[in-house]
């Protein structure tokens, strides 16, 4: 059997052909023409040029803007105090024309932001006139956003979101419009519904998460320090993946069929499978590229492709929302009482399960000192699963009904 593997990854999103589901999100990797060009050359299906604006909006960048937090020395998440692009809409339109002519089969999209009806609409029109494939509107940049109240993001208010989104859609006409939203709301479905009601085509879920990246304990200055002061960052990277998955799942569950471009915390192909499975139609990536370069696209595509072949899934679009039916309210979950089952043949006698159950579980695992083996007391074990999490050996501890 010959598998035309590239067919597996192809999909259509809002009428746009995507050769694979991986899109470079509006970020530093799309903020220079030469860099965006290299991204497309290396195999990414599309770019969303970094958020542009009208000339009268000043973009006051300060440095350093990047920071990170670590767990036991390992990178756990990234932060930035970046703002929108310093390039205004005329320059972005020029780039759209260049990239469209160089890459006619790739998605050339642009992100934009404004603060008035006139601003949103004139910017959108300019982008459409330049031939942009899709417009993304940042309603959720943590560092600077024209919300209805100072300091508030547009996407934190359903009415403001509906209003501004409808302005953009009105100006964009048949060009698809995505509204990039924030997970930092009480009810993200209400915001997505407002987007839908506005006539806009879908959401990008979701943006970076406002965060304080840390405090330098030597100087007691939060990071990143800019001349002795700091501010809140936008948190990205693996740390936010669970938040993105929840956000996308809630929207996809609450507004079935409403298009979602997924974004936030996907670092590899496995993460992309997860994001697609909870309802995103494609996967935007930024941090993983900033850390490892455009070359990760190879592993992303081949990993996803091999997965689809292995699981006998005919096309990536079949994956979209595949896990949604299995998310329910806690109150609907069946009552079960599984037990910890430890395979003593593969146990390496570290005792981590014993310590965790003793101090963070139910004192259900005993310790046989001579043989250095754990022993589960099935009367006390409730099957919480903590032991399986801390065990360093894959599949050594199973949680199952006995």
């Amino acid at each position: 059997m010959v598998i035309y593997t590239s067919e597996l990854l192809k999909s259509k999103f809002l009428g746009i052909e995507l050769e694979n589901p991986f899109i470079l999100s509006a970020a530093p990797s799309t903020d220079e023409l030469s860099i965006a060009r290299r991204g497309l050359e290396s195999g990414w299906a599309g770019v969303i040029l970094k958020t542009t604006s009208r000339e009268r909006m000043g973009v006051r960048l300060t440095y350093p803007m990047m920071s990170a937090f670590y767990n036991d020395g390992r990178f756990a998440g990234m932060g930035n105090i970046d703002l929108i692009s310093v390039y205004h809409v005329n320059e972005i339109c020029r780039r759209i024309e260049i990239l469209k002519s160089e890459f006619p089969n790739k998605m050339i999209a642009a992100s934009m932001m404004s603060d008035s009806r006139e601003g949103w609409q004139s910017t959108a029109k300019a982008l459409v006139d330049a031939g942009v494939d899709l417009i993304e509107c940042s309603f959720s940049c943590p560092q600077g956003s024209a919300g209805e109240e100072p300091g508030k993001m547009l996407a934190q208010n359903a009415n403001a979101t509906r209003q501004a989104a409808s302005w953009v859609k009105e100006a964009a006409g048949s060009t698809p419009v995505l509204i990039k939203i924030t997970p930092m709301v009480t009810d993200v479905v209400a915001i997505a519904r407002a987007v839908k009601e506005s006539g806009a085509d879908g959401v990008t879920a979701s943006n970076s998460i406002p965060a304080l990246m840390g405090v330098d304990i030597e100087t007691l200055t939060p990071i990143p320090a800019v001349n002795g002061f700091s501010t809140y960052s936008g948190l990205t990277g693996q740390a936010i993946k669970p938040v993105t998955l929840r956000t996308v799942a809630e929207i996809a569950g609450g507004l079935p069929g409403f298009p979602i471009s997924g974004n936030g915390g996907i670092m590899n192909w496995k993460g992309s499978v997860e994001l697609l499975a909870v309802g995103a139609s494609n996967v935007q990536i930024c941090t993983a590229v900033m850390l490892n370069g455009f070359g990760i696209i190879e592993d992303l595509c081949h990993g996803l492709q091999n997965y689809l072949v292995r699981k006998n899934i005919a096309n990536v679009s079949r994956l979209v929302g595949a896990a949604l039916g299995k998310i329910t309210d806690h109150s609907n979950l069946p009552l079960r009482n599984p037990k910890s089952i430890i395979n003593l043949d593969t146990c390496i006698n570290c005792g981590k399960c014993y310590i965790s159950c003793r101090d963070g579980g139910h004192e259900a695992i005993g310790w046989i000192a001579d043989s250095r083996l754990p022993k589960v007391d099935r009367e006390k074990c409730v099957g919480c699963g903590l032991c399986a999490l801390v065990c360093p050996i894959p599949d050594c501890i199973k949680i199952a009904e006995v």
Partner: protein
Amino acid sequence: MESLKRNIDKSNLYTEAARCLSCYDPPCQKACPASVPVPAFIRALLSGNTDYADEIVREANPMISTCGEVCPAEDYCMKVCTRNQLDRPVEIRLLHKFATDYGEFRGHKAVSDSGFNPELAGKKIAIVGAGPAGLSCAVSLKSAGASVTVYEKSGNLGGVPHNEIPESRLPRENLGDDLQAISSLDIRLEMDIEIGNPEQLLGSFDAVFLSSGLPTEKRLNVPGEDHIQVYRVLEFLRRAKSSPDQIRVGERVVVVGGGNVSLDAACAAYRLGAKEVHLLYRRGVKEMKVWESELREATELGVMIHYLTFPKEFMIKDSRLRAVLCGRNQLSDEIDASGRRKPIPLDGFDFTLPGDSAVVAIGLNPDGKMAKYISDRVEGYRSKVRAIFLGGDIATGEGTIVEAVRQGKEAAQAINAFLKDGQW
């Protein structure tokens, strides 16, 4: 030579420290003679609490910087590391070396909260010999509140690590760090004083700890052994360390022995400029009592080991050593007192090995004057004489530094108990 030494610095600390599984009832800690709290100090390194890591490893082992360089950890903590079952052991020795290299130790606590024994206050204890066992005993007793005086016949603290371990294996700074930390305690040091009769000390001390090591060398009793170019190993190592410019070993050196000290001598001979170093060992490779790390270092340097070989004569011509007449052994099935197969000489296989100098490293004995304390030694570090305790190499023969530390610490507890109840 430096390339042989692996290291952990700030760039790879987390990678290695995070490999520790932090096991329950940690096997590594139990295998460490000094009971260094391995998972606890590694956790402190991971959290960036380097000073605390330094503090707790040094509380357990006052010779920790020295051990960071020379402890045969592969045969202790690393041998039982749970990660052996996964991939390879955590580099525990390099991690505690990191703790002592980078941590800022603020001195031993004069009286530790847990160890303080009010009944020890005012008690006076004399320690004979300032090697690892004696110094560890001194630190434990001082920390517990006793008044401690250390007598050392040489002008230096540190014993074997100071005098004999080659500087290539143990940089002076590391031993220096240990000695400096020990010096932060109010321990009285009486240097250049040889105690000939320890019992006399009982006139002014409540107890005595003998840790004077093994200063006497065993002899081969073969012709030529007393020639000036046939070195005794202790003298050889001391001179190699203190005045390497004044020792000429020539191109070919023949070392006789099969222990770690003989390997040290063989390595030292290379560093003194020898082109060829031969080691003669009378038994087989399995009988050799050496640490893997030392054997590896010696073979990497090029030391040629001749097993089942023993010297019959150091051949002198024109008052210079020219060669060593060697005989060959075979191993019998008879097991000797050391638990190893006994070598039996073979007739007709003698050969000569050219040599410009030789080093005899066949074993060390305690000072003959101390013999009366050692024989028929009872349990609990007690000598035959009331109130005189002993530990370290003098008690158990050539051992590791960390083993001497254990004995020093345990002897301190035995002394503590004795001073409390007076029972002998």
